[in-house]
Amino acid sequence: MATSTTPAQPSVSRPEWTTIIDPVLQKELEQHVLVTSWDQLLGMVDTVYNWGRRSSLWPLGFGLACCAIEMICTASSRFDIARFGAEVFRGSPRQADVMIVSGTVTKTMMPMIARLYDQMPEPKYVISMGACATGGGPFKEGYNVVSGIDKYLPVDVYVPGCPPTPQALLNGLIMLQKKIDGEKLDVTLPVLGHVRKGNTSWYSENVERDIPVPVLGPDLIDLRLVEVSAERTAQGLIEAREETLAKPAIIAAPKTDAAEAALEAEEAAAAVAKGGKPPKKAKRAVAQPTLVWLGEEGLNALAGRLDAEFGAGTATIIQAGLLIPAEKLVAVAYYLRDRNPIKYDYLASLQSVHYEDCIEVNYQLDSTLDPGKVITLRARTSAVECEGELPTLSSVWRGADFQEREVYDMMGVKFAGHPELKRILMWDGFAYWPLRKDYLEPYYEGPTKVFDSRVEEGFGRHFRSEELNPHGTNMKIPKDYKDWDKLSSGDDTKGKTLMPTGVDISELDTDQFIVSMGPQHPSTHGVFRMNLRVDGETIVGLKPVMGYMHRNHEKIGERNTYLMNFPFTDRLDYLTSMGNNFGYALAVEQLMGDEAKVPERAEYIRVIMAELTRVASHMWSIGFLLNDLGAFFTPALYAIEERELILDLFEWAAGSRMMCNYYRFGGVAFDLPKGWIERCRGVVNDRLDGKIDELDRYLTANEIVLDRCRGVGVITREEAINYSTAGPVLRASGVNYDIRRAAPYGIYDRFNFDVITAEHGDVYDRYLVRLREMRESVKILKQAVADIPDGPILPGKKSYQIKVPAGEAYSRVENPKGELGYYVVSDGSPTAYRYHVRSPSFINLTALERMCLGYTVADVVGILGSLDIVLGEVDR
């Protein structure tokens, strides 16, 4: 666990005047009083110094990803890192001693981490927490992931795990303490000169021990290696290597049923003409946008209405979706929103697919007034790189704003008229459009996992993916890139163009300043960043900057087999892994149809797990909202006490506290262990109500909470819908829209519970909605644990090979953060052709700017807390 950096014993240089005494006598003397040698004296200094440092290791307060949650849990009452004197998490690197790199290090974040490390005063230590920080972990293949923090920073202790449990982190801390115990100072005294060489080097004066801050150029560029990189890039080694590899398949876009049939007939004829048998008809999934939708008749009627309104050929039905020509898109959108009998006022999701002949952007729409009538719109544009262009719909549904930027960022499709079409997850200047099918990641090995063995035949030597890449690292730069000497670590390309302009609010000529909150900030809930323009303390401009946690979930999802992708969904919103599993399972089950019919017992287990997750997540959210309001961790730690009990249940059933990976297509992975349900009943019936009452009692009528939360961050009902906010944020503005009721999935229609709404749409109401939702969840849980039947938990045998018929599916679940949607396109192969996550945290952030303007810096923190974002899900 600890790095074995015990170098050969340094030779001790004794001052010349040291007298040599009889060894026996010396031993005698040492045992009693005297300091007999320099070594011993310095050894005593070392002891005191080392003891001081080991007992007072203050961590830098910053968390990157999932591991950060466990890091916070380490400070909670169950584990209590304070025992080691290390609970003093300092926000500023100036006061920190140890940097706990807790989670996936992305390329976008790497410059910040290097700079923060540089800004820490000596002596400083680094703990690499978790698989990602150590070597890239499960996300290693990602194009935006640094494969190990030790590529840049000197790491003292590695803590394995994904994520490591709090105990493991504590063990890492103890390891670090042991390492510190063995340190010897390098001593230079004024008169005597260099007295002793130690195994530390902080004391050498005026030596640059700077880690050069890497630059976000066309890719993350390590300035120490810039010459080598330039040379290898110019040689075109990357391109040469890629030519030798199998490329991912690229399929044609879906066609109308008639065209499809014609094509099939043609192919069959061609095959027969060649003398073979006609190919077996590939199985296709039932064409439906999502499980609960408008229905075929309704769709036909709608298409007819659109044709009548905008001329024939406006709406073509393709695979239960309406293909709209680009030039009529905006008009159709306005019609659907305002004039259609079912008013489609809510843009549920928007994503794009790269096909052979086009890039298709599709929009899932729903109506909050008449929920459950989902339709899909399709719009197509050129598949040629950077040539695709569609009109923006952000004027119709503001919720399209960030999602269109994401499509632009990932596929290079431009949206004409978009107010701020800039890269959102990657940085300006990144050389590629990563989700295009023709983009291969730097560590690309093949279109489908499992990749070839990494053990060389006959040698037993294990090689790493770094060795496959000509640069020896996760880097890929176009051959024609020339501006190597213009790279400078002072440029923060990311977010540079997103500076809020702001307005003058005072009559007097005062200056405003731009301050960046995040990516490393105590209360941005991870590596989220806001560029603020403040006048006094009032916010006059705000631009969210995200992508610091972008770990290429979707691209990796297109390499993994369907089953292998489950554990990745855990790591989206790492506070609600069970809920994430649920949504993903539903999406693939929709494609699989009756083959994946979930047995009764499994349905109950799924609901129990999902609702336990909701309670745990809302507790966390409420606790940390209070933390954001300035209550120092006490409410937060109280709130997560019960969460620990829920995590225990998860661990017992699934084997892991946080990353449960528990759901399977058609059921769940394991049956509940013996005694589980009794313990769950105990928690549900005896503990949760009490805890919710406790929170209610202390917080709901608390004067300061009321003062700080009421009337802050208001978003009206209409805006909430238009901005596509979801979950508690939407319901706090008075919209009765909960997927569990609007488009029931699983067996939610059997349970008796209320959808909680509030009226004002402020921070307080969002808090209140969450609090009350927990009560409803407990209500559901009580019914479910009482009624759960015996029986199988999977429709058939456990299987690692899943056949998913071609087709597309969009599943929606009501996750604690809001509507979580998975859009999956299957081409019948073992991996998803396109895999997209509609993440509630990400889309809720669209409304952040609207909510914050005019409030103060202190409010922004509270508003962000009330949105309850999780960066793993925002940036994916």
Binding site: R115, P121, D210, T510, F513, S516, E537
Partner: protein, 119 residues
């Protein structure tokens, strides 16, 4: 003799200065020192900072400062009055009430003008 009492404070001041300076001196001698470009830079959440920090800031702060001066001086006037109040007659109360009412009117004026509203 009254002044003699302040000698103590003088001695304490010397002690305090010594106490404040000592750690800085010790640190300057024993602590490691390594300069570097990034370390000496301004901290802003891991980014390079944008724009000036020392700007013309909102006037509200200065208005509060002015209010403070007014009211602090008022308080200073009140102390001697309070100490010797026992020895003074009812008229002293009346006088002070008049004084306070005048000041309070000032506060109300500032309040009405919206100066006390923080932005």
């Amino acid at each position: 003799m009254v002044l003699f009492n302040y000698v103590f404070i003088g001695a304490l001041l010397l002690g305090a200065i010594g106490f404040a300076a000592a750690p800085l001196v010790v640190v300057a001698i024993v602590a490691p020192r390594r300069r570097s470009r990034e370390k000496q830079d301004i901290y802003e959440c891991g980014l390079r900072t944008t724009g000036e920090t020392w700007i013309r800031f909102r006037i509200q702060y200065y208005i509060f400062a002015m209010l403070f001066v007014v009211f602090d001086i008022e308080t200073v006037f009140l102390y001697p009055w309070a100490v010797s109040y026992v020895g003074l007659g009812a008229f002293a109360l009346f006088e002070m009430v008049v004084f306070l009412v005048l000041l309070f009117a000032g506060l109300l004026y500032a309040w009405a003008k919206g100066v006390l509203r923080w932005v």
